[in-house]
């Protein structure tokens, strides 16, 4: 039994339970949440090291041999994503302690965050399609409450749309699982990988399409993305950062998992569709972002655009493209969360997310400006930052198999990404703070440069941003070993024989 596979789920769940036990004391909940995410990061790293050294780690729950019981399995892809989850959890929980208001803290903000993390970790580790649905629901219900917590009108309206569309996605997923079970008699992913070959290819293609819709809604692909720009900008910025770093990526993870294990034969047929979706997702996302004048809305549209790059990696369906996808996923989760956290700090300083009402921060807060600059240039793909390497890997993978059009789209969208990042840069950092600002509605005086300069951001607000930027830069500095690693992870995905043997062969080991 390698218990280490279960720990990334058990640790946040334990932290959530302890947090609920300490319901009356927000200070204790804060401490438990920070400790929980730190331990999650630690067990994530241990899991990663074990998987890196010994290969697949498999646990059969209750010692029922696969495919009869529920299997939890970690390959390199899962392990990398668990470490990523831990990194984001630590940064965002620490940032939350500085930015989440007392009302939300009192009503279970931290335990909910921990449940969300458990759901995300469970999704990454499960080797069972129905169990995947259950973990999806765990993270969804936590995200529903996190989104609505606080009860502002915009939040409630955003949540309603988010809840409705995600429930539709869950229903589609459930129906597909039912039909898959009906066709094959199993829901174990490794067992399905063997038995899908026996299913009529036309039906298999239909099942793949239904899963593409279900996970596509969750990953916010065009044309299924409408819930995202309607909801992601409404909650506190720490929640937006957490969602942007993890939730849509979980949808992509599920797509990668089912396409590599179950529908590898159908991948070639789906390539034109996936490439079209990838291109449109990139373009429509970035055009939406360019049109926005509010930082959180702008960044929300960017999430969609970046998802397009990930789908491009999936569509190309080669080892190199998968490696690019994994590298891009890690890079974009770090960069995106950083940008949301910076936007939160800008709001803390100037009292607004509106680009027109911010300014002067290059002079007043040069440190924050540098952190934003690194994350923004990384997102846009400027060398030498991680975004450049990630896009380079995907574009090379595209050129290898002569898909010029998607490569051109990817390059063009990079320029527009840079443009929209410059928009934030010019408005929040470069231009002077507007002098004709109106006082706040609650009677507080309008923001002045003196007040911004004299406001000190809490260490718990700056340190997470620095931490994420350091991780992002580390991805560039260690690009050689990192690429070697993602290539190994991609090889495991594209040649799932090892995965299938590890799950079905070992029994209870």
């Amino acid at each position: 039994m390698s218990l280490v596979v279960l720990l990334p789920v058990l640790v946040p769940l334990t932290a959530a339970a302890l947090g609920l036990a300490a319901w009356r004391s927000p200070a204790a909940q804060r401490f438990i949440a920070i400790a929980g995410s730190a331990v999650l990061l630690a067990v994530g790293i241990v899991l990663f090291l074990v998987v890196e050294r010994d290969g697949y780690q498999v646990v059969q729950i209750g010692d029922w041999p696969a495919p009869f019981g529920i299997t939890m399995v970690a390959d390199l892809f899962s392990a990398i994503l668990i470490v990523l989850t831990g990194v984001l959890a630590v940064a965002i929980v620490v940032y939350s302690t500085a930015s989440i208001d007392a009302g939300r803290e009192r009503y279970g903000y931290y335990p909910l965050t921990m449940v969300l993390l458990a759901g995300v970790a469970g999704t990454f580790l499960t080797g069972d399609l129905f169990n995947l649905y259950v973990w999806f629901e765990v993270l969804l219900i936590a995200s529903f409450v996190l989104l609505a917590l606080g009860g502002e009108r915009a939040q409630l309206e955003g949540s309603l749309k988010y809840v409705a569309l995600n429930l539709v996605a869950s229903a589609v997923l459930l129906v597909t699982i039912g039909v898959i079970y009906g066709m094959t008699g199993t829901v174990n992913l490794a067992d399905l990988a063997l038995r899908m070959e026996l299913v009529d290819p036309a039906i298999a293609a239909g099942l793949a399409a239904m899963l593409l819709i279900a996970f596509g809604i969750k990953a916010a692909l065009v044309p299924l993305f409408f819930w995202l720009p309607a909801s992601y900008h409404t909650p506190p910025v720490a929640v937006s950062a957490l969602f942007s770093g993890l939730l849509t990526k979980v949808g992509i993870y599920a797509l990668v998992r089912v396409f590599t294990l179950l529908f590898a034969d159908q991948a070639a047929d789906f390539q034109p569709l996936l490439l079209t979706v990838a291109g449109l997702t990139m373009i429509i996302g970035v055009i939406g972002a360019v049109a926005q004048h509010e930082m959180r809305r702008l960044l929300s549209f960017h999430i969609i655009s970046q998802i397009g790059y990930l789908v491009m990696g999936l569509a190309l369906f080669t080892v190199n493209a998968m490696a690019g996808l994994i590298f891009f996923l890690v890079h974009v989760a770090l960069a995106k969360s950083t940008l949301f956290l910076v936007a939160g700090s800008v709001n803390q300083l100037t009292g607004s997310y509106e680009l027109a009402k911010t300014g002067g921060l290059w002079v007043l807060k040069p440190g924050l400006a540098v952190l934003f600059g690194i994350a923004a240039m990384s997102l846009a793909g400027i060398p030498p930052f991680s975004g450049f390497l990630a896009k380079l890997a995907l574009i090379e993978a595209g050129l290898e198999i002569d898909h010029l059009l998607i490569v051109l789209v990817a390059l063009g969208v990079s320029l527009l990404t840079l443009y929209s990042m410059l928009k934030i840069w010019n408005a929040a950092f470069w231009k002077p703070l507007p002098t004709d600002l109106e006082p706040f509605a609650d009677g507080a005086a309008a923001v002045t440069p003196e007040r911004v300069a004299s406001t000190r951001l809490a260490l718990t607000m700056v340190a997470p941003i620095v931490f994420l930027v350091v991780c992002s830069v580390a991805l560039t500095v260690a690009a050689g070993p990192a690429f070697e690693l993602v290539e190994r992870a991609a090889t495991q995905l594209m040649e799932p024989v090892g995965y299938i043997e590890a799950v079905l062969g070992g029994g209870g080991s």
Binding site: V134, Q155, L156, S159, G178, Y181, M183
Partner: protein, 116 residues
């Protein structure tokens, strides 16, 4: 029986989608609950229907009698019902709060958070 239940599932899906396309938030809620139930029914039917042979292993035997009902889809449906129920309870509460805040049950009035 399978054909009949398949038709019922189809009718449930049709009703759910029709209700979800209406502008009233309350109909959206009913539509979502019908959708969840239609999905549960599909799992149940897709796995095959058998009558009168419960999957109980008799004393001394090592396997259930031949032709026994498959218990796994029933377990899955049970799980899905519980999840669906709790999520629906949350959705109803959320809808009630939206109604309290906005004073309207028309989705077209819920545009504060939309893209301008």
């Amino acid at each position: 029986m399978t054909v009949l239940l398949a038709i019922v599932a189809g009718a449930l899906f049709a009703a759910a989608i029709y209700l979800m396309l209406r502008r009233s938030v309350l109909r959206l809620a009913i539509g979502l609950s019908l959708l969840a139930n239609a999905a549960n029914l599909v799992i149940f039917v897709a796995a095959g229907l058998t009558r009168g042979v419960p999957p109980l292993v008799a004393d001394g035997a090592t396997a259930p009698p031949p032709g026994a009902a498959d218990p796994l889809p029933q377990a899955m449906v049970l799980t899905a019902i519980v999840i669906g129920f709790s999520v629906l309870a949350f959705t109803l509460t959320l809808m009630h709060r939206v109604y309290q805040e906005g004073g309207s049950d028309d989705v077209d009035d819920l545009s504060e958070a939309d893209v301008q």
